[in-house]
């Protein structure tokens, strides 16, 4: 019994290898090559989709991605235990100096962070500005009927309920994007708290993960928190319209995120924050997520990385919107392509 199963497996395997090498004719260079990557959790769904599709096109290439978190991705790339990394917050200069060789930050897709809330018996729309949001998360604005909030929401009457702030307790790219935005729009936030994957929150409760924050918000009357756009959309949680730099109140959407990157000044190394971006339609709490790639890997692996990056920028971006990620605007994609051409 067992041997027959083994035999069948062996035959299947042989057939698979044969089919694989036939299909891979354009890349055919021998055995299957496995690339290992590690890093950010936020883009994991789209990355695994990409690596799967790329494997279907090139059966002799397997890309194995472990979503261990941005911090882990940066550490592993620095230690060269992986072929590439991924992060939601760019590496600092010090971190880049610590790496032997040159690491490129290549933006892949974009995401947004939305402000969710729970006000029972309230079905209006809430508008908010960055400074007011910062004051709420600093614990300065304590009640929903505060004059600053009332001034922004003239048509609706907000209840006089206490505000319960709920933030992420785990280190995350979502927190990085959110605190990066608050640091840009509020000097008090910048000097007291700052930006990071985890910060010393001056007010409120911590929930673990998007589900922890949204779960606590849903249960707590008067709760306010922040989660990834995709998560709020999939779970039908109401979120606020945020005033952007151009002075318009924008509700987060895939299009609004792409708009945020359209007018941004993109530096040559792509390490740029696109929170509080210029542009009429730009949603202000948006962010890139990056792949961390060695410029010189060499050998077949370098060639595969090169091919994958070009495929990703061309075909891959089309797979992003259905999964809730915003694709790169064409101008940015063209720039990234220029950089990706050099990867070997």
């Amino acid at each position: 019994m067992l041997t027959s199963i083994k035999k069948t497996l062996r035959v299947l395997l042989a057939a698979g290898i044969a089919a694989g090498s036939l299909g891979a004719a354009p890349l055919a260079a021998g055995d299957t090559v496995t690339l290992v990557g590690a890093g950010a959790t936020f883009p994991y769904p789209i990355y695994s989709k990409w690596f799967d599709e790329f494997h279907k096109k090139n059966p002799d290439v397997e890309i194995n991605y472990q979503s261990i978190g941005s911090g882990g991705g940066i550490r592993q790339v620095t230690a060269k235990t992986v072929d590439f990394g991924a992060t939601d917050g760019p590496m600092t200069n010090d971190q880049l100096f610590a790496v032997d060789g040159k690491i490129l930050h290549l933006p892949t897709v974009m995401g947004a962070v939305v402000v969710v809330y729970n006000l029972p018996n309230f079905d209006g729309k809430i508008q908010i500005t960055g400074p007011v949001l910062a004051d709420i998360f600093l614990g300065k604005i304590k009640s929903w009927d505060d004059s600053a909030l009332a001034a922004l929401n003239k048509g609706v009457s907000l209840p006089s309920a206490p505000i319960v702030v709920i933030h992420r307790s785990d280190g995350s790219g979502t927190s990085y994007c959110f605190t990066d935005y608050l640091s840009k729009v509020s000097d008090a936030w910048k000097s007291k708290v700052g930006k990071g994957t985890a910060v010393n929150w001056p007010a409120g409760l911590g929930g673990k993960g998007n589900e922890g924050v949204s779960g606590t918000v849903k249960q707590t009357a008067g709760g306010i928190g922040y989660v990834e756009l995709i998560y709020a959309v999939q779970n039908k949680i109401p979120f606020m319209a945020v005033k952007n730099k151009a002075g318009r109140f924008v509700e987060a959407s895939v299009g609004g995120v792409t708009a945020a990157a359209k007018n941004a000044e993109i530096p040559a190394d792509f390490r740029v924050s696109i929170t509080d971006a210029e542009g009429e339609d730009a949603y202000p709490i948006s962010t890139f997520t990056w792949l961390l790639v060695y410029e010189r890997t060499g050998g077949r692996k370098g060639q595969i990385l090169h091919d994958f990056l070009l495929w990703m920028l061309d075909e891959g971006e089309k797979l992003a919107p259905p999964l809730g990620y915003a694709p790169l605007p064409d101008a940015v994609a063209a720039k990234v392509k220029e950089a990706a051409e050099k990867v070997r």
Binding site: S169, D170, G171, A198, N200, W201, L205, T216
Partner: protein, 333 residues
């Protein structure tokens, strides 16, 4: 986990099966070699455990050097945890870990021992077996399931009923003051209690059942009631086994991560109120380790692990001392 229990038993009353083993002669042919082989194997296994524990301690010590040099002993009393500014102190986490574990023991020990007395002394054997089987199942539930139950069932109940009632009746105590968030020390203690009760019941029942029949019958022959048999014969006999069960439960409570982080509110504060959100050492590790980017930050997190390791050692040592002192007093009586 049952392996622990016999080791804690007093050696005086010989277990029935040890007599049979002594009479066997099948080992005589292999002579001393078999004994030596057995001795060597057992020794290497037990030193392996020592090495493992030592290795964990050593690697935590080595990998936290940056943070140990930066903060020294102040790490233990620092109240600020600010990854952005590079300020790290462990006090709120240490406090949360000890408070929630103590709260859990306070609830779980009387309940667990009481239930074990019922199962071993009063309940019909068949009912006792069925119930213990169900209780053992409880011990096998993954902690993330307890955490989800905590978020969706326990926390709303605590917020809507338990905390308002406690606040109204005992609100003058600092222990029960503050707004009822639901999440916080109280919920974490409750969920931990639920998680450790099965350990206490199962081990305690097993130890109580191993009380020699002779002792029970002797007590009954002297006219003792069931209550008297339980309190004067069974409990003293099982005392060290029960304390073993409690250590095991305590160790689990100190190290529990997932369920706690889901209901404790994850806010590093030191507050006398049980209603306040808090944080534990295991929870902050689970939350922040993956995304910790800076070297000092990572070192500080590993030092939290070191403190947790040390706290577990100290608490267990203290508990062991307590048991010894109780035993000695019992001996003199």
């Amino acid at each position: 986990m049952f392996v622990l229990a016999p080791e804690h038993l007093p050696a005086s009353p010989p277990a029935p099966h040890s007599r049979e083993a002594a009479g066997g002669s099948s080992f005589s042919r292999s002579g001393k070699w078999g004994d030596r082989l057995f001795h060597g194997t057992a020794l290497s296994f037990s030193t392996g455990i020592l090495l493992l524990t030592g290795g964990i301690g050593a690697s935590l010590w080595r990998n936290s050097s940056l943070s140990r040099h930066a903060f020294g002993w102040k790490f233990l009393v620092g109240r600020v945890w600010d990854p952005v500014a590079g300020q790290f102190g462990a006090l709120p986490f240490l406090y949360g870990t000890i408070l929630t574990s103590a709260l859990a023991l306070l609830i779980a020990v009387p309940l667990g021992v009481g239930a074990a007395i019922f199962l071993s002394e009063l309940a019909p054997r068949r009912l006792s077996d069925i119930m213990s089987f169900l209780i053992e199942l409880l011990a096998a539930v993954p902690s993330v399931i307890y955490g989800l139950l905590g978020i969706f069932v326990l926390v709303p109940l605590v917020r809507q009923f338990l905390e308002p009632v406690l606040g109204k009746t005992l609100g003058f105590l600092p222990l029960f003051s503050g707004p009822p968030y639901g999440v916080g020390f109280l919920s974490a203690g409750l969920i931990l209690a639920v998680m450790i009760i099965p350990f206490i019941i199962t081990v305690t029942r097993e130890v109580m059942l191993s009380t020699p029949k002779l002792l029970r019958e002797a007590a009954m022959a002297l006219g003792a009631t069931r209550w008297e048999v339980a309190t004067t014969v069974v409990l003293p006999f099982a005392r060290s086994g029960i304390s073993g069960a409690i250590f095991l439960a305590l160790a689990r409570a100190l190290g529990e991560t997932m369920a706690v982080t889901m209901v404790i509110g994850n806010t590093p504060v030191v507050s006398a109120s049980l209603f306040s959100p808090g944080y534990t050492m295991a929870a902050v590790l689970a939350n922040e380790f993956t995304e910790a980017t800076g070297d000092l930050y990572l070192n500080a997190l590993i030092e939290i692990g070191l403190v947790l390791f040390g706290a577990t050692l100290i608490v267990n040592a203290l508990a062991q001392l307590l048991v010894w002192s109780v035993k000695n007093r019992g001996g003199r009586r």
